[in-house]
Amino acid sequence: MSAPPAALSPTERGTECDALIDDWLGTDLDAWTRKVVARHFHPETGSPYWLRRAAGLGFDARDITRYDQLTAFGPFPVDILRSQDPADLVPLDVPRPLTGRVWDTGGTTGAPCRLFYTPAMLLHRGAWRRWSFVTEGFTQGRTWLQATPTGPHLIGNGMWEVSDLYAGQVYGVDMDPRWVKRLIRAGRLADATEYTTHLLEQVTDVLIHGRIDYLNTTPALFLALVRRHPELVAPLRGVRLSGTQLSPDMYRDFMAAMDDGICGRSYGNTFGNAAGLPVEQNAELMPYVPNYPQVTMNVVRKEDWSTTVEYGTVGQVRLTVLHEDLFLPNILERDQALRYDTGSAWPSDGVANVTPLQTTSSAPEGLY
């Protein structure tokens, strides 16, 4: 697992993470935007990718002063991340040669996109994950089983996040999401189910000894576990879910399946993540807030990616990544969500009820 270089105790890490998050939540998004854009477009120390694109933008990126002006960049062409050297997205200000991990997206639609994460980016992700653990009620020093993709998938770095940031002991079961997607693409649902069984055998082999407090996995795998081995789910102190669809029914069933467990949620991918807020309306509304300010999410009209929909309305998720070491404006996700009004509780919009993007008409006149 990758980890920032400094060897701090979990307590020191916690203090460090808390301080970082306080700073981030107090950050002015426009000022942060100026800082990140200036860094990536610095003529000598910017990122090679953006310096190459600068001349063709039709505007001087360094003139951008506000977050909402980032639409000038247009939708980010994520396809280039399938072949681009990931190092070219990282500012030259970060000493070369880069040392660290390249992470993949899931590869749902073909070859995966690849991104280099600097230690600061990994710490950012970990700090927010730790924030979720705390706010959702997970306690430090527990034993976890992480049954998620690992290897090139960033979610697998959660094992480090639990152990080094939250004093946890972590068991692991590896999952290959690309194999599942390949089976599904081929219509081989029975084979996909067989793969689920293969994973469940490994999961139950760990759970059966009764040493696991918390399980970190996908809603799909947890659903299968709840159905087939409810006796192993009941004593869990909690589950943390991300990676596949989660319906209100599933959430309620999961809560009911645990004697006294908690259910944490997150939404996102290798580009950026959002932390689950408590469910509302008996889980009919499941909101998330992005890992601000480096990650922001807007909900935009499907037919006009530059226009944000009204609160409470469904649209396509548009993700903007504003790391000091990675700038990816206007990624149009293959997801849709409700635009969630965080009010004064969060410095940016949230998203709720995330589902795969539907490319059908959304005009109310079509109701009849």
Partner: protein, 320 residues
């Protein structure tokens, strides 16, 4: 953990399904059959401008929507995806009845084609129309749209809560002037007339259509559903041939409820609903189970993914 197929109602002006038709031979075969049964050409069924006379237009439109819905069903069946529970509103309820085995495909399409012979209303009858009303999520429906008791305005449909749960969408049918007057009396945005819908469906104003179709429906060979089939006219699962015949008979004049359909499907175990064709828009409504809209070839992949992720038990019973 059941897979439900949900069919919308109405006859839209947008053409749907061209990509599915071109991509799937099984759908093209169905359209050829429907052409033989109805006398319409495949082009008329698929995409050509609908005829002008009102009842003829309505008849052809219902044939188009039904062919698309059944065609998509057939495409999914090729992937091993069959419904465990069926439901629909209005025309969609009839399509669902067909797939439940209550009426044959040929009989259904011939009935829809017969409807073109419905006598047009006299020219001096008031012009009819449809509107959507946006009401508070909670409370009495009759009072919600503030049209109760107004001459010429009828509550004809309940589509249930909006996606965020904040509002509820109702359908009003009636005389166009009365709907326009109601629209003008209420705050902007409360009532939205649908200018392309000139028939006051699911209201007493369709009494003449119901009367015309009644003998035909009475002679149709209905059978008991072989799969759970839910009604759109009340909260109920239809279990007998007479239940289905009654649905067909009352459908023109009785109000529909998508809420009842979905709640009953949920009670029948539905944990994922497939919305067939373009008949119910995406993202507007809240459903009591996750839904995937199926109207284009690329949606098949989403369906398969969702079936896997929601752990659906695929029904061993094949729909018709």
């Amino acid at each position: 953990m059941a897979l439900g197929f949900l069919f919308g109602g109405g006859v839209g002006t947008e053409v749907h399904g061209l990509e599915m038709y071109r991509a799937h031979p099984v759908m093209r075969e169905l359209y050829e059959q429907v052409s033989e049964w109805t006398g319409l050409t495949v082009g008329q069924i698929l995409e050509e401008e609908l005829p002008e006379p009102q009842e003829e237009r309505q008849s052809a439109g219902t044939i188009r929507e039904t062919a698309l819905a059944l065609g998509i069903h057939d495409v999914l069946a090729e992937q091993g995806l069959s419904p465990a529970v069926l439901g629909g509103v209005s025309l969609g309820a009839m399509t669902a009845s067909c797939l439940a085995g209550s009426i044959g495909r040929r009989e259904l399409f011939e009935m829809l084609a017969h409807a073109r012979h419905t006598p047009e209303l006299p020219a001096d009858e008031p012009e009819q129309g449809l509107a959507l009303a946006f009401a508070p999520a909670e409370g009495d429906l009759g009072a919600a749209y503030r049209g109760e008791g107004r001459a010429g305005v009828h509550l004809s449909g309940d589509f249930g809560p909006t996606a965020d749960g904040a509002m509820r969408i109702l359908m009003l049918s009636g005389e166009r002037e009365a709907l326009d007057a109601l629209t003008a009396d209420l705050p902007p945005g409360t009532v939205a007339p649908l200018p392309d819908r000139p028939i006051a469906v699911h209201s007493p104003l369709r009494g003449h259509f119901r009367a015309f179709m009644a003998p035909y429906i009475d002679a149709m060979p209905f059978k008991a559903p072989e799969l759970p089939l839910v009604s759109c006219l009340e909260r109920k699962t239809l279990t007998t041939a007479e239940d289905v015949r009654d649905l067909f008979d009352r459908n023109p004049t009785d109000p529909i409820s998508l809420v009842d359909v979905c709640d009953e499907m949920k009670d029948q175990g539905v944990r994922l609903g497939l919305i067939m064709g373009g008949s119910i828009p995406d993202g507007i409504l809240r459903f009591p189970f996750p839904v995937v809209h199926v109207g284009r070839p690329e949606h098949i992949q989403q369906v398969l993914t969702s079936v896997y992720e929601f752990g659906l038990d695929l029904s061993p019973v094949r729909a018709r």
